[in-house]
Amino acid sequence: MMADATTPGGGLLVLALMLPAVGMLAIFALGLRHAERIAHATLLAGLAVALAVAVKVGQSGQAMTYLIGGWRPPLGIALQADGLSAVLMVMTAVILCAVGVFARGSFSSPRDGAETRRPFVFWSLFLGLWSALNCAWLARDLFSLFVALELLTFSAVPLVCLDGSRETLRAALRYLLFALAGSVLYLMGTGLIYGAYGTMDIATLHHLTRADWATSLALGLMIVGLMAKAALFPLHLWLPPAHAGAPAAASAVLSALVVKAPFVLILRLWFEVAPQPASTPAGAMLAGLGAASILFCSVMALRQARLKLMIAYSTVAQVGYLFLVFPLVMGSAAVTPWESVGWTGGVLQLVSHAFAKAAMFLAAGLIAEALGHDRIADLGGAAKAVPVTVAAFALAGLSLMGLPPAGGFIAKLMLLTAAVETANWWIAATILAGGILAATYVFRVVGSALAEAPEGAGTTAIARSRELAVLALALIAVALGFLPLQPFDYLAIGRGGMP
């Protein structure tokens, strides 16, 4: 939909971008000792803004727009929340709030002691990350999206090496290099697009793009760059060490949210910028790499000895499912892409994986704190020490495997249905095989956690509120399975003007 004027309440979108940034500045200004309290206040306010945007979009049935400075695109820059953006904003806010509750124990500064760097760095980057994510969900021109991606990288990389050990520094540098290579390729693509069409506005480009070699090259460069950031096989090598090495609260945010932003950008490029109908071989290639991600990284997850590395490999596998969407949506010509089963299934997979994976990483963090290690083979006694956490881990695992009634089940069922409808049998087979592999690696952990504790193993007590935050995330991941048909309409909001 073209952005013609600022809609009522459009200022909320600016607030969504600015609140975390203001919170970050307040941490600098009001003294580092208050970092945690300022971050928590910002979290509550930001959650309220995200919910307000979602309710307003749902009530009006139209996308919300804010034109910065009142300038209309293509000259000006628009922020726009359609159904997809609103869902993503609420998802981000809820997950960050839960992580905020979880992290209260691990990064709080001593009440009377000196100001320490760790809580300050964590909370300010945490808020920076949120601002960048909201920018990625709301921006409507390719260059603002580039800036959002860079903000995201600069906030995410230091989170990886928060404990400053040699391994995490190495992982952070590798992550940075992959992300930079990705963003420079993306920037080159935007340059080509601007050279060919003279605009960066997505809604304007939607009507302009032609199927010529310059457009194909530009989109190819941008998508490959984003693939490196989204950690699609074979560009996933940076993810497992980076996500496994970060502190649990940071890993949860990185795995659940940060890798989703580049994927959402690919989704927008594919369905809103690329000339329609999109190229069949390219869609099949993306799905092929997604399938390779699922199979290869699920097997890798099975082979890991450490819990956090296993979960990180599982992230690559689950992100692979998202890339299966492209050929599934192309096949159904009768309905618009965003009303098709495949598209809705893909978005639902994105959201349910975000909740499940955040719950899993936080659970792994609590288990490691309680037992003092995260070796899968020696997890015995975990179910006795932190029963709520192990239950949350199992519930989140339910969603990853795609067992009913979890959100992941509905998502994978929709993808499977779309694969059968469009006669993509190899995709259907991959989805089923991926589910079995996921079940194997989740049960391996749960089975080990239910075993008797070894003699003489001591455990550390964990605050109940932190366990409940993890359980809440896992329950949301399961509860998503109970709203199967509603997303169809909501996700299509704001796309009426698109042919």
Partner: protein, 109 residues
């Protein structure tokens, strides 16, 4: 050959050299420099897009130039972050991203 084509070829060459270095050099510092080479090529490309978009009495389209400034700032910040990480890593004693540790004098200024 028009100047735009010539500069376009230069940009392409810079990107190619940078990509080669980024993928094939094992040492992190060279990877960072390679990234800057790709960046330079991309910025040059934006300049060409600006020149080719000249209209309405302007010598060049100002929009790509504005974007290049942002791009340069971002690339500078990225390089600073990468170098800071690299220094911390050297202090911790792990000089390479992948592959065996190299000779320490390779990275000295």
């Amino acid at each position: 050959m028009t100047p735009a084509t010539l500069y376009g070829l230069c940009a392409a060459a810079l990107v190619a050299i940078g990509l080669f270095g980024l993928i094939l050099h094992p040492t992190p510092l060279r990877k960072v420099i390679s990234f800057n080479l790709i960046g330079s090529g991309t910025f040059l490309f934006f300049g060409i897009a600006a020149r080719r978009g000249a209209a309405a009495g302007f010598l060049g389209d100002p929009v790509p130039q504005a974007m290049v400034i942002t791009g340069i700032v971002v690339a500078f910040a990225a390089t600073a972050l990468a170098v800071a990480l690299l220094l911390r890593m050297l202090e911790a004693g792990a000089p390479t991203v992948d592959g065996p540790p190299e000779q320490p004098d390779d990275l000295s200024p």
